[in-house]
């Protein structure tokens, strides 16, 4: 693990894989909740890094973070135990780019549906919009580039793929991911507790609607 300075009040932890990020994030979140890591204002995972930031005037607890993560295996597999909540999202696989995704993968549309809905995913991190989860665990043939041009507006609930990730747009927004389907599930509701259906570390399955 590398530690990189991120302002006076922040440190960025750089890890070798998305799985290691998820493992580190889970451990640090539990340490914050359990009172074993004090003073953290934001704990934010991303693709290969985790930001730990503290209040103005304080310094990031770099030594304590190293202690907490000392025995973290760099090739740790995503936790599949019962402690990580599982969310199942019903999806109608009728996305605008389904044919493009099948062509790129060199398979049929039915295979795309089967591949995507048979995977078990982990929420690696959230970003782009409140409640937008970047899910890892995408089968290799579905790991495809973004569209050359973003669409200016795509509907809430659209399910897309881009690079190593799949995800669901929580609200109408611009977006450049290849769209394969749509879910009716509400992904983000600011008046709900918790507001986001997907939280880093959660596991996700997609269930095809016919």
């Amino acid at each position: 693990m590398r530690t990189l300075r991120y302002g006076r009040t922040g440190v960025l932890l750089e890890l070798d894989s998305s799985a290691a990020v998820t493992a580190a994030y889970r451990r640090l979140r539990a340490a914050c909740t359990g009172g074993r890591l004090a003073g953290v204002v934001e704990l934010v995972p991303a693709a290969r890094t985790v930001l730990v930031s503290v209040a103005i005037g304080a310094s990031p607890p770099v030594e304590r973070l190293r202690e907490l993560l000392a025995d973290l295996s760099t090739d740790e597999e995503p936790v599949t135990g019962s402690e990580a909540p599982m969310v199942t999202l019903p999806v109608r696989y009728d996305g605008e780019d389904l044919a493009l995704v099948a062509r790129t993968a060199g398979c049929g549309i039915d295979d795309v549906v089967r591949l995507h809905s048979s995977g078990e995913y982990t929420v690696a991190f959230c970003g782009f919009a409140p409640g937008f989860g970047y899910l890892v665990g995408l089968p290799q043939p579905l790991r495809q580039p973004r569209l050359a041009d973003s669409r200016p507006s795509i509907p809430a609930g659209s399910v897309g793929v881009a690079g190593e990730f799949t995800g669901v747009y929580p609200r109408r927004s611009p977006g450049g991911w290849r769209l394969i389907g749509r879910t009716e599930q509400v992904m983000f509701d600011p008046s709900a507790d918790p507001p986001a259906l997907l939280t880093p570390g959660y596991r996700v399955r997609f269930e095809p609607l016919v």
């Binding site: 990189l4 300075r5 991120y6 302002g7 006076r8 009040t9 922040g10 960025l12 994030y25 204002v41 934001e42 704990l43 934010v44 995972p45 991303a46 693709a47 290969r48 890094t49 985790v50 930001l51 930031s53 103005i56 991190f125 959230c126 970003g127 782009f128 919009a129 409140p130 409640g131 937008f132 970047y134 609200r171 600011p190 008046s191 918790p194 507001p195 986001a196 939280t199 880093p200």
Partner: protein, 296 residues
């Protein structure tokens, strides 16, 4: 059950952009929720203190004045931020210049006019009891990136006020900061300074112009582009956490300094982070101003 507030005020003219703001939504970036909240936090807090409120109650954040409100019932208000002309207009037509940075009592029917400041961008209007609108995820602040919180204030919009709890501060003078149109701010290099060709030297030598597309999400800078190291030129950075003050450099080499409504993650390298204590000053920098980022 929601208490029915009997004290209200009405915004008659919001000016170019008036928002409800407070201390924002810290601690929720892991869900993709920006921190948000007042850009000039010391000025925001002072507006609350002057009217006798706890520091975090919701207040107005004005962009370039042009703002007018009417007290529907008696209340105390205070305008902070860059110095600006503040006028009270009575129902009988009399006008009184009251000035900024002091508590002013408005009788029912009085109007408060806030002019555009001579320097800087954003004034804050604190109201006794605070703006009592429903909170979203712990805050009443309008977030322009995520769309959380209320929409920008509209002409004719009426706001309930919470119960006034404290005593307004004396009209003793308080220090007022003036925003210069040339500003140097300290920057701590990292986390991705090693992606750039001699970033410290390049930054020291460059005066940037603050671009007109700047807003609460970020300041867009124009100037001699920062160059990536040749071995990083074609490399893509996996999405990384962003934070207010982060100086992100897209392939164009023209940096963006993220502010309170900035995104929580991004795909371009961050060359350095503006010292957090300078963020209030960045919230007051006008487009067209000259800005230098000084590595420390």
């Amino acid at each position: 059950m929601r208490r029915v507030s009997t004290r209200t005020l009405t915004v008659l003219r919001p000016g170019p952009l008036a928002l409800v703001t407070d201390l924002g939504r810290p601690g929720q970036a892991y869900l993709g929720i920006p921190r948000g909240g007042a850009l000039d936090l010391p000025a925001f807090r002072l507006a609350n203190r002057l009217v006798g409120n706890p520091e975090g109650l919701a207040a107005f954040e004005l962009l370039l004045g042009g703002f007018e409100l009417r007290a529907d019932t008696g209340c105390t208000v205070a305008v902070t931020g860059p110095p600006t002309a503040v006028t009270v207009l009575r129902e009988d037509g009399t006008r009184r210049a009251v000035g900024s940075h002091r508590a002013v009592y408005l009788w029912a029917g009085d109007r408060l006019l806030v002019a555009a400041p001579d320097s800087g961008l954003r004034n804050y209007v604190g109201c006794s009891g605070g703006l009592d609108i429903p909170a979203v995820l712990g805050s009443r602040a309008a977030d322009l990136l995520s769309g959380l919180g209320p929409q920008p204030v509209r002409a004719g919009e009426r706001f309930p006020l919470g119960p006034a709890s404290g005593s307004p501060a004396d009209a003793a003078p308080v220090p007022v900061s003036v925003s210069p149109d040339e500003l140097s701010v300290p920057v701590l290099l990292g986390p991705r300074d090693d992606w750039f060709d001699q970033p410290a030297t390049a930054l020291r030598a460059t005066w940037w112009t603050v671009g007109s597309a700047s807003n609460r999400i970020g300041l867009r800078l124009r100037g001699r582009p920062l160059r990536r190291c040749p071995d990083r030129a074609q490399v893509e950075l996996p999405s990384e956490p962003m934070r207010p003050g982060a100086v992100q450099v897209p392939p164009s080499g023209q940096p963006v300094i993220f502010l309170a409504d900035g995104p929580t993650t991004g795909g371009y390298p961050v060359v350095g982070v503006v010292d957090e204590r300078q963020l209030p000053a960045l919230g007051q920098v006008r487009p067209g101003s000259a800005l230098r980022l000084l590595p420390v």
